[in-house]
Symmetry: C2
Subunit: 219 residues, 2 copies
DNA sequence: AATAGTTTAAAACTTAAGTTTAAAACATTT
DNA sequence: AAATGTTTTAAACTTAAGTTTTAAACTATT
């Protein structure tokens, strides 16, 4: 049986946090084990000793991030199946946006995730199964309720995509927004205003589509 | 004076196109000069001979992509200021989506751009000035028309962001969509259906917000 | 056709990064 | 406190990739 010393646990944690920073800044491939170890203040062999290799360290970082972000901002906090779908949609959007824009994470979470989206590693399969699919299922239920019985699977899916895309944009496009609008950081109120906008925009859209379904046109 | 042979021009072009593919697939850092040259069917020294180094090749590829995509799909093709804003919005969205999903580019354009968004190089400033800002201005005019006189600059901006984010999502999230929905490629009809959805979704939303403005609430 | 300039080719050079090794330091249990 | 297992360290190993070199092949001009 393996003995685990408390100093080893601290080393592991330090690597995990340094790796989060470095991976977020540079991406999986560009990030170097040397830089991670330097920032963590540990020997270069520590990554291989504690995590096996760079890739398994990366997966551990992703899982760590996921846990922290989803525990802090659950997608259905304070609401249940009995609450009106409008309210549940607002909660969903607000939580998603906070996960993306919360400054405390030093934007580690969105940067890591977004990098994973456009430059997938084998870890993306895990991410889709453990984070995205459950979220999408939850959102589908909400959108189904809003659209009503007659809604096809295709329209539900497209509406869900429209909702999440508006949130994810704030993970992807921050360097562009900085240049285009001059807005660099997002405070508590900015986040609430944006969440309100996305919720209102999406609710109007979904209600409009629900009404259009019956009549067979969208104007 | 330098003589330029026609075979040299062809070599340059072949490198440019192969580099587009490889950079799009792998990203700047992960892409290898060896792979680019192999795919272009040229010697490994050709990149340095024709472009100086890997980075200048990358910039050349970005500029080449921009020209091709915007010439093929202009954002205001066949419409002008006199056309109704609903029609102009549809055209705008359709063009943007085609630039992103056109299989002929082998998704080189969106992948390159998205990489630039997330991991900016000095080339992003050029990109914002020459590509994004004019596009955003055009879209702002359309959205202003739809929202009516009373619309604040803030709400116009947020609506524009909502519209473009829905399109850009198909540039960012394709690996995720492949895993989540099993959809790998997007044919002509897929693109038209998605464009119709985004246009309808956004029109309902903007009209709803315009109506809500007067009454002072969104439901 | 000869020549000067341009392009291509194969191989070697250089550097950087992930990983491994083996010994030393440390911690825990008996 | 000794013994055993765990963790850290410094250095070396290995591979991969960007770049450079030098000569050969090619092209266009005279």
């Amino acid at each position: 049986m393996k003995k685990i010393s408390s100093t080893a646990v601290r080393t592991r944690q330090r690597i995990l946090e340094a790796a989060g920073e470095v991976f977020a800044e540079a991406g999986f491939r560009t990030a170097t084990v040397r830089e991670i170890c330097k920032r963590a203040g540990v020997n270069i062999a520590a990554v291989n000793y504690h995590f096996g290799d760079k890739e398994r360290l990366y997966v551990a970082v992703l899982k760590y991030c996921k846990t922290v972000a989803f525990e802090k901002y659950p997608a259905d906090e304070g609401v249940g199946e009995s609450d009106p779908p409008e309210k549940r949609l607002r909660v969903f959007i607000r939580a998603m946006l906070w996960r993306i824009l919360d400054a405390d994470h030093a934007s580690m979470f969105p940067k890591l995730v977004v990098r994973e989206y456009i430059e997938p590693t084998p870890a993306l399969d895990m991410w889709v199964d453990e984070a995205i699919r459950p979220m999408f299922q939850l959102l589908s239920n909400i959108v189904e309720s809003l659209l009503g019985k007659g809604a096809s699977e295709a329209i539900v899916r497209m509406c869900c995509t429209s909702v999440v895309s508006q949130c994810l944009h704030f993970a992807y496009a921050r360097p562009v927004m900085k240049r285009l609008f001059g807005q660099e950081s997002f405070g508590k109120w900015d986040i609430e205003i944006i969440a309100d906008h996305i919720a209102a925009f999406s609710l109007h859209a979904i209600r409009g589509l629900a009404a259009g379904q019956e009549k067979g046109g969208t104007g």
